[in-house]
């Protein structure tokens, strides 16, 4: 308790300091390189994004301890878009045009990313988007270090089908763009692999849904048709705690109907007693329990930075770690922070990830990552039960959606196109 309080004081102080410095530095000039952090620190998304702001502050502090970048100190400029989507665009503009930051790290929800896209395009700056998302996008100014559906959802479904022998599927999600797109991809994928339509149940719930009795009962009913059943959950953060509590209360065990989630990590589990949930699954590119030296070091410095020995790490944090290091390396390679040079230099950059390998930035501005499947343990951690044998390259345009299966993205010259249609041979198609 006390520790948390202190942590937050520190965070608050850092925030105030960040804002003050930011304000000063506008005049203070060229001996620093400014990095924008665009994460909500208040409102509904603060629950997920505040932590990531802290991760960025830590990474910047570490880089400065190593001597900064191009001989200059890095300086964090923190703004609070307050979970308000139009405000994201305003704050992005403030960071780029007002504060003259060299790159921005931030956004969580897809709608916030879509809201800042035109700003980054217009002012020609660099955005790192560091959360798993639904794909179907590749933009010149944006680098995506979270998982695309083929780096999370599809391997998870493969695992359930091949290892758990699942034949009947519940696709449950919160009613917004990420679950809807992911479920569309999954539905096509399952049908293509021979699952009949009556063995797929799709269910959407509103944001923050808290009364799961009926839906859990329906899942139970759907699962009693003589075929092994699993739930693929794209339920958004806040609604997960009551969902898992209801599963536990109604006695649905992972051995009977496993739930694999794409938005539940160590941070989300911190609010639940995981005893009754042992064996339910999550698919990510990183788990805190992965035994790699880089990971041990990251956790150690993270817990020291937050002054909380129980603080957990999760997948979006790893995406920040990768994204930040990629940017640092690209700036070093380009020898400047000028956006055009950095954007070109970023492609092909490879940095260590936290699971004991390397991740590389590809021409479609997505990265290569391993995919891990973990089972929830009673201590709130995940045990990795399966891992892809190699790295999976992120696919900007899904092969399983009719609109996007002909599209590819390649930002290298001469193509320089985020949505090249291989069927028509022209740049441009659906999306941006």
């Amino acid at each position: 308790m006390k520790a948390h309080f202190r942590t937050n004081l520190v965070a608050a102080a850092a925030l105030v300091a960040g804002t003050l410095f930011g304000a000063q530095a506008a005049s203070a000039a060229d001996d620093t390189i400014k990095v924008g952090i665009l994460h909500s620190l208040s409102g509904t998304m603060a629950i997920s994004e505040t932590t990531l702001k802290d991760v960025m502050l830590m990474l910047i502090e570490q880089q400065n301890a190593k001597g900064g970048l191009l001989g200059k100190k890095l300086e964090a400029v923190v703004v609070d878009p307050a979970s308000n989507w139009p405000l994201f665009a305003e704050k992005a503009r403030e960071l780029i045009a007002g504060q003259k930051v060299s790159a921005v790290f931030g956004c969580w929800t897809s709608v916030s990313r879509k809201s800042v896209l035109p700003v980054f395009e217009e002012l020609n700056s660099v955005l790192f988007y560091l959360v798993q998302y639904e794909g179907e996008e590749s933009q010149r100014n944006v680098f995506y270090t979270g998982a695309a559906p083929n780096q999370q959802a599809i391997p998870a479904v493969d695992y359930l089908r091949d290892v758990e022998g699942v034949k009947r599927w519940v696709l449950a999600g919160t009613d917004y763009v990420y679950p809807r797109t992911t479920n569309k991809v999954l539905e096509t994928y399952l049908k293509d692999s021979g699952v009949p339509a009556e063995d797929i149940m799709i269910n959407y719930t509103p944001f923050g849904h808290s009364d799961w009795q009926t839906i859990v009962a329906e899942i139970k009913k759907f699962g009693s048709a003589g075929k092994k059943t699993a739930v693929v959950s794209t339920i958004n953060g806040d609604a997960n705690v009551p969902f898992y509590k209801e599963l536990a209360n109604q006695g649905i065990k992972a051995q009977d109907i496993p739930v694999v989630a794409f938005s539940v990590g160590e941070e989300e589990l911190a609010g639940i007693d995981t005893g009754p949930l042992v064996g339910h699954l999550a698919a990510w590119n990183y788990f805190m329990s992965v035994p790699a030296p880089e990971n041990a070091e990251f956790i150690k410095s993270w817990q020291a930075f937050t002054k909380n020995a129980k603080r957990v790490s999760n997948d979006p944090m790893e995406a920040h770690y990768i994204g930040f290091n990629m940017w640092v390396k690209a700036v070093e390679k380009a020898g400047t922070v000028a956006p055009d040079a950095v954007i070109d230099a970023l492609i092909g950059v490879a940095v260590p990830n936290l699971t004991g390998g390397y991740s590389a930035m590809m021409p479609n501005h997505h990265i290569t990552k391993p995919v891990l499947i973990g089972e929830i343990q009673d201590n709130g951690q995940f045990d990795v039960v399966w891992k892809t044998s190699g790295l999976v390259p992120g696919d900007a345009w899904s092969d399983f959606l009719p609109d996007s299966k002909d599209l590819i993205a390649d930002w290298r010259k001469p193509m320089s196109c985020g949505n090249f249609n291989v069927a028509t041979g022209k740049c441009g198609g659906k999306g941006s």
Binding site: D211, I215, K221, G271, P276, G279
Partner: protein, 540 residues
């Protein structure tokens, strides 16, 4: 001669003893060797080892297997020995997996867990089930019978037959017979046997039975398939009937949550007429009080955990109530009669309170545990009732009755009603109206605080907790009729039941929209809600 016989007997006895001992030793050694092999095996090899243990039919393997399934079977890094780690207060102690000997305390960090996955957990529970069917402990036998029913393991049939013959408890025997039927359906036994098994399973009549029969219907043919399909249809019919009851139950349960969330607002908004947008934050404060109480109990008195909610109730009431009084004295009393300003001020206040909690406790969810008497579920006919929900309904009704008594039967309640109905008259009767206002607002906030204690059991304890209930709360109070507690009760339960009957057909998203549309239409027709107050006080 007698001497010779005795001598021979002694020799024989010694020889037997030696053979016996070495037999036990060799046996324990193979068991230990297999358990040790688990340490380095991958998932497939582990499954093979578990099946070997099962084939050996050795009940001594049960503790090790159970520990493996629970994730307690560990490898000690120092010497590579496989042990069972048991929590002992705040530390762990090591237990030998074969002899159950206590090997002393052990450091968790010096242990490597032997990992299992869902598939292995299934295999383990099936194996442990078939190994413990003859256990002396009836609850173990019951769990064993259920495990075999789930695993439908045909190789357990012989053990099952023995166990059924020896079983004295009727309830457990019924479960064993059911498990036997499930196992028989996996074999190629003659048709009459399998038809009899279907009859046994069909009689059981729940979703598990339907699941089993569906898989039989899919794989069998002829008479067996026909009978299974017919039984499924019967089970589905009875389940459909029960599902109406289940929906009513879900509706009442949702209604009780709505009632809890709204009942404080029924006082601050309903009785006092203050549009209190910070109502949800009072609920949140109650939930955080629960978290803090549990936190203190966890660190200093773990034995009290089961009563943590009871301790939290008065504290939540006092904390939220005190905050309520401060808000009334500090802000709201300056704004009486100016609803728009009140709305804006309390809305701003709710944001301030949220951010304050976020700064103090952090933005992430806090864990509030469920006491043991609120965990799990029980079956009543075809209904599955979860204890947590049952207690929340009981609690909501208790709070409602208590509040009704306070309003109708106490001096404070009388003064409160007097002040809200005619402030000037009450004032000239010697009632200190300003203090009644403050205390009324405090009461409403305090009640919201104890609602937070209950809601912490089913929802996130996060700074956003209150926000998700504020709209529902206003909906309930306006629908039920402003200023009437009975209206709030009926309104909450009606909305709960309507919502739950719509949900299976319309889906959760559309269901919620339909309820909102229904309320809008209802308010058009009856602007004062279901139970409208009448009289001069209302008209003015």
């Amino acid at each position: 001669m007698p001497f010779g016989i005795t001598l021979r007997r002694i020799v024989l006895a010694v020889a037997l003893a030696v053979v016996g001992a070495s037999g036990v030793g060799a046996h324990a050694d193979t068991l230990r060797a297999r358990i040790d092999a688990l340490a380095t095996a991958d998932f497939a090899a582990k499954e093979a080892i578990i099946n070997e243990l099962a084939a050996a039919g050795d009940a001594e393997a049960v503790p090790a297997l159970t520990a493996l399934g629970n994730g307690d079977l560990q490898v000690r890094k120092t010497d590579g020995k496989v042990i069972i780690a048991v929590r002992d207060g705040n530390s762990y102690k090591a237990i030998d997996p074969v002899s159950a000997a206590d090997l002393g305390p052990v450091d968790r960090a010096a242990l490597d867990k032997i990992r299992v996955n869902n598939n292995l957990r299934r295999v383990i529970s099936a194996v442990v089930g078939s190994l413990t069917l003859r256990s002396k402990d009836p609850s173990v036998r019951r769990a064993a019978a259920d495990a075999v029913f789930k695993s439908r393991d045909a190789s357990a049939l012989d053990v099952l037959d023995e166990a059924i013959a020896a079983e004295t408890d009727n309830g457990i025997r019924r479960r064993m017979v059911l498990a036997r039927a499930a196992a028989i359906l996996q074999t190629n036994r003659p048709e009459p046997d399998r038809l009899a098994a279907i009859a046994v399973v069909a009689e059981h009549g729940n979703q598990d039975a339907k699941d089993l029969l569906s898989s039989v219907a899919a794989s069998a043919d002829g008479e067996v398939k026909r009978k299974a399909t017919a039984s499924i249809a019967l089970i589905e019919q009875s389940l459909a009937m029960w599902s109406v009851g289940q929906n009513i139950w879900y509706g009442l349960s949702l209604g009780s949550v709505l009632l809890l969330a709204a009942i404080g607002l029924a006082i601050t908004f309903g009785v006092m007429g203050v549009i209190n947008m910070a109502h949800g934050e009072m609920v949140m404060i109650g939930a955080y009080v629960t978290f803090m109480v549990q936190e203190v109990i966890r660190t200093s008195a773990p034995a009290l955990f089961d009563v943590s909610l009871l301790i939290a109730l008065p504290l939540a009431f006092l904390t939220a109530g005190a905050v309520g009084v401060v808000i009334e004295r500090g802000i709201i009393r300056w704004l009486y009669g100016r609803p728009l300003e009140t709305l804006l001020a309390t809305w701003g206040l709710s944001l301030v309170l949220q951010q304050a909690v976020r700064s103090i406790f952090g933005p992430t969810n806090r864990e509030v545990g469920a006491p043991s008497w609120m965990s799990g579920a029980f079956e009543l006919g075809g209904l599955t009732l979860t204890y947590g929900r049952v207690w929340i309904i009981v609690f909501a009704i208790a709070v409602f009755i208590l509040l009704l008594v306070v309003l109708k039967r106490t001096a404070f309640g009388l003064q409160m009603r007097a002040v809200t109905q005619n402030r000037r008259m009450a004032s000239s009767m010697g009632i200190r109206t300003t203090w009644v206002d403050a205390l009324t607002f405090g009461l409403g906030s305090g009640v919201a605080g104890i609602a937070g204690v209950a809601l912490s059991q089913i929802d996130n304890v996060s700074p956003n907790l209150g926000q998700s209930y504020i709209i529902d709360s206003f909906m309930v109070v306006v629908f039920g009729g402003v200023g009437n507690l009975w209206g709030t009760l009926v309104g909450a339960l009606t909305l709960g039941v309507v919502n739950k009957f719509l949900e299976p057909y319309a889906g959760a998203v559309l269901g919620k929209i339909l309820v909102l549309v229904f309320i809008i239409l209802f308010i058009q027709k009856r602007p004062r809600g279901m139970f409208a107050l009448k009289g001069r006080a209302v008209e003015s």
